[in-house]
Symmetry: none
Subunit: 251 residues, 2 copies
Amino acid sequence: MLKEERQQLILQKVNRERKILSKDLSEFLKVSEDTVRRDLNELAGKGMILKVHGGALATRQKIYTYDEASISNLEEKKTIAEKAVSLIRENHVIIVTGGTTNFELVSMIPDHLSITVYTYSLSIAMILTEKPNVEVLFIGGKLLKNAQVTVGIDVIKALSQVHADLCFLGTSALSVTEGLTEINYEVSHVKKAMIEASDNLVLLCTEEKLNMVERYKVCPISRVGTVVTSLSQNTLKRKYANFLATGVDFI
Amino acid sequence: MLKEERQQLILQKVNRERKILSKDLSEFLKVSEDTVRRDLNELAGKGMILKVHGGALATRQKIYTYDEASISNLEEKKTIAEKAVSLIRENHVIIVTGGTTNFELVSMIPDHLSITVYTYSLSIAMILTEKPNVEVLFIGGKLLKNAQVTVGIDVIKALSQVHADLCFLGTSALSVTEGLTEINYEVSHVKKAMIEASDNLVLLCTEEKLNMVERYKVCPISRVGTVVTSLSQNTLKRKYANFLATGVDFI
DNA sequence: ACCAAAAATGCATAAAAACGCAGAAAAATG
DNA sequence: CATTTTTCTGCGTTTTTATGCATTTTTGGT
């Protein structure tokens, strides 16, 4: 690997994750920590990163992909993503919505895994360009500016032509009685279409979304195949027995 | 093999594979590494590649963020973008391809301007989410990972339903005899469809792309409405009279 | 203040680049 | 057409660069 190539990778990783350890870089790039340090020194010399003891920090503040430092409950979301990624099998066709939990999910897809991903989120698509064996199909339509996802009739029509094994939905709110609900009207329709297009529905759900209800209905809880949370089975039994009683698979 | 011929091959290979080793080039071209290095030095002198220890990298990198530091010929591109943005009128429907020059163009769209933009580039779409009065329609399809644009039959089909006032195309290569040509086969097809969908074709073209030819034909020069360069009319007359003779409007 | 981890330093080695040169080929010149 | 000049290319030599390892120094936490 060329030195500049390596430095580009470092820069990319630092800017994405806000911070990075020399040790991790050394392992990731398969070079000695010495070399990593030299690279970090050069990049820091150009002001492209901030070198600190043990690694480096990003200097750039404005980034368009998600900035992990600004994701709330990052650890919880990483736990969820880790569980969720284990549901994906070689050659699967999956649909992924937007949101920070799904962002962690696609970041964790291993390099060797060959799958096809449909998505309507710009940031998710960007991350996926780095996965060598993932075929990405972007669902076009009207761009919703705040969420950076496409919506509208074009999206629904495109989804009607799709057949996926799994659908990973970010969750706005989940309740036993109202099922899955959504803040945004247009997004609720797109999610319905995504569910229609998939054999199996997986919800990525942080604890704060449980027992919540939003304005627009997406689907009843019976339609959900699997809910992925960061909670242990014990905690679930203790605090969320009402969900377990619905028969939906919680992992 | 002619020197020029060899350098064309190098350029192609670098742009296609993003990086290349001198050693591999030497073997591939059946010349000494010395000669390869001399070629790389010449190309790097013209800013067409980035020469590094062990080989070379493409100057055209992925744009993840609005990181102006990594854009080559930034000033030239800003000049071009400034001229180009003045062609846009209130309520226009425009199509924009990818590339760094278009990136500058959309960045310069004033906040008050109400227009509709079709694009197939993730980075362009991301920038446009910041423009309050721009309606963005993203053209979905298979994602080309290095360029971060969508291609394929879905893109062509979607474009067949579009009617735009203006089409701003980034330019890979422009010559009087071969017209507009493109490095990537799939992109060449998408560009054809974009041209079909528009009343008026505008090329954003840095000087280094003039009198160059790539493998895949997009359209003859007669189909081009306006070419936007950073050059003055005087310079154009002096150095590029052959283009002016075609009757195409150069600004 | 002590200790483990991280960083700097010096050194060795291999790879790549630069340099100078020479011969062959191509282009220019009279 | 002959010959002079220029360009192109490869080779041997020297210089520079990149990288890892061993050793010493610094740092930050407890």
